[in-house]
């Protein structure tokens, strides 16, 4: 560890100077530099994710099990009250799997967005005192959301297998595509909002309210067939297309198409015969485009973040 002073000086002489100011870089070089910088800190990222998970349920008796309680409670509420009492289950085959599929992906999207948005403020102590690539904070929030998602997805997969609903088909590719689509957009929003939130604290509350509205704007509790039918009944079929412009709606549909086999089959529910879901015509292409647009949006969000982060330490 102890290099002699002269050796150290000679080594330093051979290094080139680095500027601390990253604002001068162009769009692509700036984004590339940020990606390299964050990648260089992946060990720290890993530790920050573990910190979030470890500290969250520390000292509680059930610990990590609490991660499962919330989604399962939501499933119960939607299944019993919306499904049975309000009657949504009469038009949607295999309603429990259907709702849980949507909730699982929605859980990822909303957790990344909500905890990502407040992540920079939550780490104010670090930001004021240490230089780190600050993108690491929304990404750490993303990492812990991904682990929760993995657990919930495991339960979903188990439920699908146990109920004999698992079908091997090309539709399975919609599952990773849906997850990726939701993730890209959620991270992009999280990066953007976490930086704006430093200057305007209302953002985090706006996001919470916005997510509640968005939840009902996505086909989680009601099915896509019902959306199309309602639009048709009112003679505004184009509204269904507008509905699909929301990336999380498309992602949820993809996820359902892969995990919820009953949605692609004709089913008999009591007196009702339910035809297969009218999946959008070019769904795979739509999803690929949405992922590509999401990546561009992510790059833009990172540049905005890079612009704003210069004053984080004093504004926070």
């Amino acid at each position: 560890m102890s290099t002699s002073a002269q050796e150290r000086a000679d080594r330093l002489r051979s290094l080139s100077f680095e500027r601390t100011d990253a604002r001068q870089r162009g769009f692509f070089r700036g984004f590339g530099h940020a990606v390299v910088e964050v990648f260089g800190q992946r060990e720290l990222l890993n530790l920050l994710v573990r910190r979030e998970l470890k500290a969250k349920y520390k000292d509680s008796t059930l610990g990590f099990i609490w991660t499962l309680v919330r989604p399962l409670t939501m499933l119960l509420i939607y299944f019993v009250f919306i499904g049975q009492i309000l009657g949504a289950a009469h038009n949607v085959p295999n309603f429990a799997i259907f709702v849980y599929t949507g909730l699982t992906l929605w859980g990822l999207y909303s957790e990344v967005l909500i905890s990502g948005t407040s992540s920079v403020i939550a780490n104010a102590g670090l930001i004021r005192k240490v230089y780190l690539p600050r993108e690491i904070f929304p990404l750490a929030a993303t990492g812990s959301a991904l682990i929760n998602f993995a657990i919930q997805f495991g339960i979903l997969l188990l439920a699908v297998l146990v109920t004999g609903q698992f079908r091997v088909s090309w539709d399975l590719f919609y599952v990773p595509a849906g997850a990726l689509l939701a993730l890209v957009w959620a991270v992009a929003f999280a990066v953007l909002f976490s930086s704006l939130n430093v200057y305007l604290r209302d953002i985090q509350y706006l996001v919470e309210v916005g997510m509640q509205i968005l939840f009902w704007c996505s086909p989680i509790v009601y099915s896509w067939a019902q959306v199309v039918q309602t639009a048709k009944d009112h003679g505004v079929l184009w509204l269904a297309e507008v509905y699909l412009l929301n990336p999380i709606s498309l992602a949820v549909l993809g996820f359902q198409r892969g995990m919820w086999a009953a949605g692609s089959e004709t089913t008999q529910l009591g007196v009702n015969t339910i035809p297969p879901q009218p999946w959008p015509a070019h769904m795979a292409l739509d999803m690929l485009i949405a992922i590509a647009v999401g990546l561009i949006f992510l790059a833009i969000a990172q540049r905005v973040f890079a612009r704003l982060q210069g004053n984080f330490a004093q504004e926070i």
Partner: protein, 248 residues
């Protein structure tokens, strides 16, 4: 005192660094809506740094002196890359560690051990490097068996000792220090100062912010005195202290 290095290269350069703080009085959406259009009345400009130039050679120890609000901590943060200057730039080379606050990034619910790894990573160490110096860190901090206790149960002395121990095991080329040498009891302080002397012998560069002229005199070989964001003196520590007294 620092080691003698022939033909020491510069490791730190600041050119025309200025920093403006805009003091906004309205932070929430409501306040901004209400004050929209009159928003300039709700802003105050304040230049914390005004056209500061700086060059620090490898192996030297520089003290930053100044009254409260003279901009010395801001300058240190600009050097550390924690805040961006409004104009001008800072260039540097080598591994830099900023000790602006001991235990920044400590999580109260995690054990000392977890926090050593986390804090080490925050300061730029890899997992393997931390594992290699883990025993040395625990030893230096004199924490002993409490290393597996959550840090929220630590006494404040144990807390800063552990934080300081991690910081000095980071192996930086440039160390930025802000008033953190005054931690722990007298015995631990002596140990800290001995460690700083080791650092100087090893040719590390130290930029040291302090209110205590006596401490700067003991540690640094040159000093810079700031007043209202401007450099008013640079050079020998003894004269710097005289200049500081005059600036009050």
């Amino acid at each position: 005192m620092p080691a003698a290095i022939t033909d020491a290269p510069a490791v730190l350069r600041a050119e025309g660094v200025s920093k403006r703080f805009v003091i906004r009085k309205d932070k929430s959406l409501k306040e901004r809506m209400v004050n929209f259009g009159r928003s300039n009345k709700h802003k105050d400009d304040f230049w914390a740094l005004d056209n500061v130039d700086l060059e620090v050679a490898a192996g030297s120890s520089v003290g930053l002196l100044g009254a409260n609000g003279s901009g010395k901590s801001t300058l240190l943060k600009v050097i550390g890359g924690i805040i961006q200057p409004t104009t001008g730039y800072v260039e540097r080379r080598g591994r830099i560690a900023a000790l602006l606050e001991l235990g920044a990034g400590f999580h109260p619910d995690l054990t000392g051990r977890d926090n050593v790894y986390l804090n080490g990573a925050i300061l730029g160490l890899s997992k393997r490097q931390i594992a290699a110096s883990f025993d040395a860190i625990v030893d230096f901090a004199e924490i002993g068996e409490f290393i597996d206790t959550q840090v929220k149960f630590y006494s404040s002395g144990m807390y800063v000792r552990l934080a300081f121990a991690i910081a000095v095991h980071v192996d930086p080329d440039i160390l930025l220090v802000d008033e953190v040498l005054a931690v722990g009891d007298e015995k631990f302080q002596a140990k800290c100062l001995a460690k700083v002397a080791d650092f100087q012998r090893e040719g590390r560069t130290i930029v040291f912010v302090s209110h205590s002229a006596e401490q700067v005199n003991r540690v640094c070989d040159s000093a810079i005195v700031l007043s209202h964001g401007k450099v008013i003196y640079r050079g020998d520590t003894k004269d710097a202290i005289a200049a500081l007294r005059k600036s009050f």
